[in-house]
């Protein structure tokens, strides 16, 4: 029994309370420096810092953090191993529940999940679960001690995973560990989905995604790049002709939404997907070593207030621009993580809040010259309790910019549903599933991630994918799985 447990159970003699160390910050590049380079912003914990931070964990009997995690990682478990200095063991323990810890440690909104419910967080700042997760994953990778877990004997069942994004990678990792033969189909040239084409290098180094994918490869997952399910083969063909026993759809929300205002097709107006894909996937910031030209402009407006908007704004800064975020509500209502907003502001992104774009202006060569906006004010709260913005009459003004990035979200990619009539979709285009099992209306077909929930977070996609993988396992091994009926129109 540890001292802490003794203390809690009352068997220990009361000692004077040791002062708890404060939450440890991560060493990071200074804002004025990092705002112009693509290197990762925080350097990560050193082992010493990690152990100090880990020592803050109470190792609660009934850990709320585990319940707060969409994939129910044994958080006190892996932190306990850090306390003991067993970093490699900690990483392996973590990987039993989470195939992509180095990624989740960086991009999960922990403040909304595990850290939000941390007991210490009631009075002090919560344990930095995300930073610790990142630390052990990096430690294991950098020490070259990554080992492949022992896999069960092959079940002989073949599973097709569509999309190599967070959902697909998680499902593939789970399924291969259950002994199935897994093939991941990806339309782009590299696996990773949003992890490689949207999330920038300075937030998630691509090397890490590559390492996590290599880990899956080593476990036996087969990756087929440049393959568009819906074009090269339909799902029915995968099931009926190609011999797959089940199909998992994790094709994501890859259809950018636009504002539908005049001037949106001018040269210099980009969807956040395009803007970020050019920089991240096509490595245009390394142009001309890479052939894709970058978008180096002077004044950039990013429309939107989510994480992707922050990514686009911070990328624009690094490409050498003066950057404004144009958002129609107040800062408190921005859907982006507080940390991301903070980072963006620190680096010099200027916020134009309660500002709504009306039209984009261009010159005779169809090049953007400005964006006309109108000032908004918060009106009465609506049904959802959010105070919706209303325009202030006559407050129009022009923000002079040469680039506009539209980051107002994505809709589900329609390609797969279009080529599969039996697959029921909602009126927003998302695939209809039984949320307990992630089974779709087509027997043998399961789905998770943004194609089910619309644009959401990496970790929620992973949580759903984990559920789906468990159901697929039961399904291919012959257990009864109910597939929801096609809803009445």
């Amino acid at each position: 029994m540890s001292d802490l447990e003794k203390e809690k159970s009352g068997t220990a003699t009361r000692k004077p309370k040791k002062p708890r160390p404060p939450r440890q910050p991560m060493p990071a590049q200074a804002p004025e420096d990092r705002a112009r380079n693509f290197q990762e912003v925080p350097y990560g914990y050193t082992p010493e810092l990690a152990m100090i931070e880990a020592s803050r964990c109470l190792d609660c009997k009934n850990p709320k953090c585990v319940a707060g995690c969409p994939v129910n990682v044994d958080i006190p478990g892996f932190i306990r191993l850090i306390q003991q200095g067993k970093f490699i063991e900690s990483a392996r323990h973590l990987k039993e529940q989470n195939a992509l810890p180095a990624i989740c440690g960086r991009v999960c909104p922990q403040e909304e999940q595990c850290e939000k419910v941390c007991i210490i967080g009631i009075k002090n700042e919560p344990v930095a679960v995300g930073r610790l997760e990142r630390f052990v994953a990096d430690y294991e990778r950098n020490s070259g001690a990554v080992t492949i877990p022992e896999l069960p004997p092959s079940t002989g069942k073949r599973i097709a995973v569509i999309g190599a994004g967070p959902a697909g990678l998680t499902a593939a990792g789970d399924l291969v560990r259950m002994g199935h033969e897994v093939t991941v189909f990806e339309a782009l040239q590299e696996p990773g989905g949003v992890l490689i084409y949207v999330i920038p290098e300075f937030r998630l180094p691509k090397e890490i995604v590559k390492a996590e994918v290599d880990y899956l490869r080593q476990m036996g997952v087969n990756f087929v790049m440049d393959y568009v399910v819906g074009r090269n083969a339909t799902i029915q063909e995968l099931l009926n002709e190609e011999g797959y026993h089940a199909v998992f759809i994790g094709s994501g929300a890859g259809l950018p939404a636009f504002l539908r205002i005049p001037g949106e097709n001018l040269v210099g107006v980009y969807s956040a997907n395009e803007y970020l894909t050019r920089s991240n996937l096509m490595k245009s910031y390394l142009f001309p070593k890479y052939d894709t030209p970058p978008i180096r402009r002077q004044r950039v407006a990013v429309v939107g207030g989510g994480n992707v908007a922050m990514d686009a704004a911070r990328t624009a800064l690094r490409l050498g621009g003066d950057v404004h975020i144009v958002y129609r509500r107040a800062k408190e209502q921005m859907p982006a993580r507080v940390e991301e907003i903070h980072h963006a502001e620190e680096e010099g992104v200027q916020m134009k809040l309660l500002t709504n774009p009306k039209r984009i202006l261009g010159d005779e060569r169809h090049r953007v010259t400005g964006i006309e906006c109108i000032q908004m004010e918060l009106g009465e709260p609506d049904d959802s309790g959010r105070r919706s913005p209303v325009p202030v009459e006559g407050s129009e003004f022009v923000l002079e910019v040469d680039t506009v990035v539209i980051a107002i979200g994505n809709n589900p990619n329609p390609l797969i549903p279009q080529t599969m009539p039996d697959l029921a979709v909602s009126r927003w285009g998302t695939i209809v599933v039984d949320e307990d099992t992630m089974a779709t209306t087509v027997p043998g077909v399961f789905a998770a991630g943004d194609i089910v929930s619309g644009a959401a977070t990496v970790i929620s996609a992973m949580g759903q994918a984990r559920t789906a993988a468990a159901t697929i396992n039961r399904y291919v091994l012959g257990e009864e799985v109910t597939f929801p009926p096609v809803p009445e129109k």
Binding site: Y43, V228, R231, P256, F287, K289, P293, L415
Partner: protein, 838 residues
């Protein structure tokens, strides 16, 4: 003085000038071509013919000296007719279709800038479009038809020499290059080779310029009136925005150069005095050296063994902090003597006043400019302005601050790295080898955050509140004045002569080997290995056993600059439908470029694409050989062409669209349609697939812009003729460049003819994820990759499409500035005798 009459005007002439010189001097324009002001008259092209009272025939004004009382007429109808005929004959061997095009004005309006390509087959894709003398002349003379179909020599672009690209298919044999070479160097590296219709410019015995001992002064490029000879680096910039004079300080000569500038960047450098050529460094190395991709652009400091990019403020503070313990003789400042005088002045003050050391060392250099410095024993910290000490020497130092323009091995040891500006980016005074002063002007902008050398020292002094380098401080002002006077006394007021020996002299600059930083120079050093030739193969090639996915099984240049590539991609071949496309990446660094599926073989698992060499990524594809494997091919993408029996369908094709109609025609025929294919090209030699198209269509109509084959005009002209002739066409489908499709749409706007156009905007993923391919059709936004590629041609916003396609043209040009193109040759399978004829 002599008096003569030109066009009835009495004119005073110098005794030994020609009629042409005299006329031009007096503002009387006589069209001329082979004549060049810096060359002796030659009389080859005969365009400058005039009529002289009492003289037989039509003497050439460039070679006829003036004589007292001469009566000259320069512009009679007979002369005009003769000149037009001469030009017409000349244009038979020059891709001249654009000069004859009936829609030339529309074309220039729709796309004023030349598009870059591999082989040029018209003005629109010519690097010389803005400056072309032939183009101007043809306008002046009202050139409007060719006597017989033109001849295209199918000569390979010669790219095996450093710095110069030669496309002799554009050459009009004016001989200017041959003459300038002889005039300036006394010997002819290049001359006329062969006779009659196969004569061309070249080197004796089929050698390359390099093998023929060319010094690469670039004079031949500078005098060429067409796009045949091009400075590879500056090729696609067209008319540069600005030209500014400064001095080249690669070696001790300090030649005066004119730098051609585009958006603050050096594009090219030429001799100020046309008659005195520069050496290869001055002419061809200045721009690539200034714009190298590896230039240091951001200050860096070492954080836990890694150099990290930081702000100037932080780097200066860090350097100041690190320097603190080394004040006095333990510090040394070492620089390449190739710096402006002003820099030396500030270096010295910095060393003496700020650091309190006497070690302000101008590194010794050998004749080639290689630096070697042995630091004094007591030095523990050094600030180096270049790569000038050995690794062992560096290892001994306790602190190394590096200030340089390019990375070197010293970066491994440096605690702080400052990015420095180079000589076209700084102002000052340069003392040449003979001790005379030459002006340096900051004519270009330093890349990124790089700063001039002396500025960095001034900034550091300011960061530690030391006023020693403060211009405004009285002590320094006094010294500056004295210094300025000393320099002024040495200043020359005439333009200095150009290099006395235009052969490569200095091989090192600031401790960097120039040939490592300016690709082409490597070819000039004797010991350099032959560059691996990268070949575009003209001959059809086939591999027998397709084994791997994405492998090229067949490849040939099917028409100039159009490459037919057959790839083995079973996953695409299995599902391909007419009208769909694939996205190809030749290698991992390529752009994702869409190409229309021209044909496929489901059994063999192959697809056929027509690739035009345009930019970097398509060039990589054009360079592929049978057996090579592309990095990625994904498809089939896009919505297939809607198939039903429309009745009679006209397929209009141009460029790659000619190939695209093979698949469309096959499918439409199968659906029961009558298919008429109408294809266009600038000239007869640009048509391809004539037999293949005739085999899959009910009728094939051929059009050419210059009228050399079939109907004169565009494909749309063939269609309009049919419609006007009362034929029923139920539907038209047009595939080609936006200009061709726009014209087709415009000219059928008022007719009751449904027309579909296959759009080809820039794409990224091709699956609807990014929206790069947005087009406006009927006022609505569509994604060409998933909603298209086919849209109603009459409702497309063509100008928007054009501008969106050109969104990156500036950036692409700038990429040429920082990538030294690989020297590579078209491999030409000629007759073996070396005559160049196939």
């Amino acid at each position: 003085m002599i008096e003569l009459t030109i066009n009835g005007r009495k004119i005073q002439a110098e005794p030994d000038e020609s009629i042409l010189q005299c006329a031009l001097r007096n503002g009387i324009e006589i069209p001329h071509l082979c004549n060049h002001p810096s060359l002796p008259p030659y009389g080859a092209c005969r365009i400058c013919m005039v009529e002289v009272e009492g003289m037989r025939g039509y003497p050439t004004s460039c070679t006829t000296p003036v004589a007292p009382g001469m009566e000259v007429k320069t512009d009679t109808p007979a002369l005009q007719e003769l000149r037009r005929n001469i030009l017409g004959l000349m244009m038979l061997e020059h891709p001249s279709a654009c000069l004859l095009c009936g829609r030339r004005d529309l074309c220039d309006e729709f796309r004023p800038q030349a598009e870059k390509v591999g082989r040029t087959t018209g003005c629109h894709t010519c690097n010389n479009k803005d400056m072309c003398e032939v183009r101007t002349l043809s306008e002046d003379l009202g050139f409007c038809e060719l006597p017989v179909p033109p001849l295209y020599h199918h000569r390979p672009i010669e790219r095996s020499d450093p710095f110069i690209d030669r496309d002799l298919n554009l050459c009009i044999l004016c001989g200017r290059c041959v003459r300038v070479c002889k005039h300036q160097h006394g010997t002819s590296i290049i001359d006329f080779v062969g006779r009659g219709s196969v004569s061309r410019i070249g080197e004796a015995f089929g050698r390359t310029l390099l093998e023929a001992d060319c010094r690469f002064c670039g004079s031949c490029v500078d005098v060429c009136p067409t796009g045949s000879l091009a400075d590879r680096y500056a090729k696609w910039f067209g008319q540069v925005q600005d030209c500014c004079e400064t001095s080249c300080i690669f070696c001790d000569e300090g030649c005066a150069i004119t730098v051609g500038i585009d958006q603050g960047k050096a594009v090219m450098a030429q001799a100020v005095d046309e008659d005195k050529p520069l050496c290869v460094l001055g002419r061809f190395a200045v721009a690539p050296f200034m714009n190298g991709a590896d230039r240091l652009t951001v200050p860096k400091i070492r954080v836990e063994s890694v150099l990290r990019e930081v702000s100037w403020q932080m780097a200066l503070t860090e350097a100041a902090e690190l320097l603190k313990p080394f004040k006095g003789e333990s510090f040394a400042l070492v620089f390449d003597p190739a710096v402006p005088e002003e820099d030396r002045f500030y270096f010295k003050i910095f060393a003496e006043k700020v650091m309190g050391t006497s070690h302000c060392i101008a590194a010794d250099k050998d004749a080639k400019g290689r630096l070697a410095v042995k630091l004094p024993e007591d030095v523990k910290a050094a600030w180096l302005l270049g790569d000038m000490i050995s690794a062992e020497e560096a290892e001994k130092l306790e602190l190394l601050i590096l200030q340089d323009a390019y990375p070197s091995h010293l970066m491994d040891k440096a605690a702080v790295v400052f990015p420095a500006a180079l000589f076209t980016e700084v102002s000052g005074t340069w003392i040449d080898g003979s001790g005379k002063a030459r002006p340096l002007h900051a004519v270009t902008t330093p890349p990124g955050q790089a700063r001039p050398d002396r500025q960095i020292f001034m900034d550091l002094a300011a960061a530690v509140n030391d006023s020693s380098l403060d211009d405004a401080a009285p002590a320094l002002a006094e010294e500056l004045k004295a210094f300025g006077e000393a320099v002024l006394q040495r200043r020359r007021d005439t333009i200095p002569p150009a290099a006395s020996d235009p052969s490569l002299k200095k091989e090192w600059f600031r401790g960097h080997e120039l040939s490592k930083l300016v690709g082409g120079l490597a070819c000039l050093t004797a010991e350099a290995p032959e560059p691996e030739p990268v070949e575009i193969i003209d001959e059809p090639q086939v591999i027998s056993t397709p084994a791997e996915n994405f492998q090229v099984v067949q490849k040939r240049e099917i028409a100039p600059n159009n490459h037919e590539i057959v790839f083995y991609v079973p996953a695409v071949a299995k599902k391909a439908m007419a009208g769909q496309f694939v996205i190809v990446m030749a290698d991992e660094q390529s752009e994702r470029v869409p190409y229309t599926l021209c044909d496929w073989d489901r059994e063999a698992g192959t697809i056929t694409l027509i690739v035009q060499e345009k930019g970097q990524s398509s060039r990589k594809l054009a360079l592929m050989k049978a057996g090579d494997i592309a990095a990625h091919i994904v498809g089939p993408l896009g919505t297939p062409l809607e198939m039903k029996n429309y009745g009679t369908v006209a397929l209009l094709g141009g460029c790659y669209g000619i190939g695209a109609h093979i698949a469309n025609a096959k499918a439409l025929k199968e659906a029961g349609n009558t298919v008429v294919i109408m294809i266009e090209a600038r000239s007869h030699y640009l048509h391809y697939y004539l037999e293949e198209l005739a085999a899959v269509a009910d009728e094939l109509i051929v059009t050419t812009i210059d009228g050399s084959n079939g109907i004169k005009g565009h494909a749309i002209d063939a269609l309009l003729r049919r419609l006007d002739g009362g034929d029923i066409i139920d539907r038209a489908i047009t595939v080609g460049c936006p200009f061709m499709m726009k014209v087709a749409a415009l000219e059928t706007q008022d007719r009751d003819l449904p027309m579909m156009a296959a759009l080809n905007p820039i794409m990224l993923d091709g699956t609807g994820m990014c929206g790069a391919c947005r087009v406006t059709v009927n006022g609505e936004t569509k994604f060409a990759c998933v909603d298209g590629p086919f849209f109603d041609a009459h409702t497309i916003d063509w100008d928007e499409l054009r501008d969106r396609r050109n969104a990156y043209s500036d950036a692409e040009l700038n990429s040429l500035l920082s990538t030294e193109p690989v020297a590579h040759a078209h491999h030409h399978t000629g007759g073996g005798c070396g005559c160049g004829r196939s």
